[in-house]
Symmetry: C2
Subunit: 331 residues, 2 copies
């Protein structure tokens, strides 16, 4: 195998993402320099943040370059190494991108134990989405037993972990998700106390009924109307972990109307990016891995087959078609 | 003098406040019970928060009752006492309301030294507005020397103190105020580095020019467009002390459009009410009093004469007609 496939950003979307914004290419496997290693990617993670990188706008990260491999987290196996710390047969998590192979100099690689939890879980509940949930809950919401936590995108990779972790801490947990199937999964499989279907058309009334004691912590993955509805139910001194604004990724304004409540309820809100808090990862990942191994932290995956399916799977993710972590199986 | 005058809330405004929402009454001075004292109010403080209390809406405080004396902070002199800790001739700060006299059981009274700073200053820069500035700056913005702080309603009682305290801490300070007169005062008298006139019609461009290194801390007294414009200039990890939302007090929605930046810039925002943080008052007021006495903290007052002028003065405050602390002189 002297070539591999990759997907590059072909054009920047002005609004909705379409397959034409991507291009599948076949490229040669490069020779390894001293200190480098070659990884065969087994799974690619698809995540909402990628939509933001496709824009050429001011954000927390540099935009994805045109014509370059789309960025993305991967797990895979080292197949060749000229690096002193890695050998063929090692399993690693990497930012390997939308590609079948990746060359690395070892920077930022995380060594994985495929016997502890399934390999794909290291891209989900024992990876960045899981740590996002862990960090927001422990470092921003600082949730106490008996409090009510509201989680949007509740059936997603982050939201499902947030709710289960909050339940383990003794909270009442109310999810918000789109459609009866996702809501049923959240309550019956994940053990949330309630889940409001925002597509049912009665978001505010339904959320009010589901939060008789108000809301003490909002883990916000969506923004817009969903966030406003949750703010309307906040108690004094509520806290908000602002994690995602998927509703605005296509460039539309998502005005927030209950701004007054930020003051009236003396709310503390913090936006965060979990990769800026790497100090917490070792302890957090150890806790998450142990909970998964013990069966106390469940997750679901939507797995697309083959690199060429990544653009459609990504577009589906942006439209909320997946349940749980969206992955692409590459091997 | 067996009677005194007071102003009560006659009706709740649906939108704009008018004089008809208030009623001037003459009432008898009550006999003092054991443990009570009688205060002759010298100055009444008028503040934007009163507008919120006039509504019958969910807020951090109970609404002002109809037919009762309008609430308000006062400074005055004890003229009779059956309380063991206070004697005639003592000067005190109290929540004496829109009235010439007030009866108190001593709860929440603060003893004042009229020789240290002028009596009226205890309602302003050495009182609640000054402590609001002090708390937001020290406990929320946690401003560092060299950072840029943006303050809206910059010529007001809170804003002018925020800016001067931030300058003493080595910050670049940019105010936002309405009209060239207020902006000139803020820069020339108070020593702000710049002041943007939001009425000039180029708020965003002017604020950009005044903040070449972006904004690290926003002390927000206004909300709405002004807040959005400041958010658009934030640097990563900026902090927001949310103190006032005067733009929305008349019941209009004030959507916030740059919500995305709360996440993109990992902003920490906190709404606060300074009266919930009384632990900080003794140290803060001591610092503020010393700075006033040393001439390092300037303030300006707009003083209306006589209780009957309070409604018009309050309406003027809501429309931004005052410069500095709005007071009513009652004696």
């Amino acid at each position: 195998m002297n070539t591999y496939q990759r997907i590059v950003l072909a054009a920047r979307p002005q609004g909705e993402v379409t397959p034409h914004h991507f291009r599948l290419e076949t490229v040669p496997v490069p020779d390894l320099a001293e200190g480098q290693l070659l990884i065969r990617n087994h799974y690619l993670s698809l995540d909402p943040y990628m939509r933001g990188r496709m824009n050429d706008a001011r954000s927390y990260a540099a935009p994805q370059a045109l014509g370059e491999t789309m960025i993305g987290g991967t797990v895979g196996e080292v197949v060749a190494s000229r690096h002193p710390s890695f050998a063929a047969g090692d399993f690693v998590a990497a930012m390997g991108g939308w590609a079948e192979m990746a060359v690395s100099d070892g920077t930022g690689l995380r060594r994985l134990d495929p016997a502890a939890v399934p390999l794909s879980a290291y891209l989900g509940v024992v990876g960045m989405p899981g740590m996002t949930a862990w960090y927001g809950l422990n470092r921003i919401l600082e949730t106490q037993a008996g409090q009510t936590v509201c989680v949007s995108a509740a059936s997603g990779a982050v939201g499902s972990a947030v709710g289960q972790l909050a339940k383990l801490r003794g909270c009442r947990v109310v999810g918000i998700a789109g459609g009866p199937e996702k809501c049923g999964y959240v309550v019956r499989e994940l053990g949330f106390d309630a889940c409001v279907d925002y597509r049912a058309g009665n978001l505010r009334a339904d959320l009010k009924a589901a939060t008789p004691d108000g809301i003490d912590g909002i883990f916000e993955n969506v923004g817009g109307e969903v966030f406003d509805a949750a703010l309307a139910r906040t108690n004094p001194f509520a806290r908000v972990a602002l994690c995602g604004m998927i509703a605005g990724y296509d460039g539309a304004d998502i005005p927030m109307r209950n701004v007054r409540l930020l003051l009236a309820n003396r709310i503390t809100l913090r936006g965060f990016i979990v990769t800026e808090h790497l100090d917490d990862w070792p302890a957090g990942l150890a806790e998450l891995g142990a909970l998964v191994a013990a069966g106390q932290l469940k997750y679901r995956e939507t797995v697309a087959q083959g690199l060429a399916s990544a653009p459609d799977a990504f577009i589906g993710l942006l439209k909320g078609r997946n349940v749980g972590k969206q992955l692409v199986k590459l091997v």
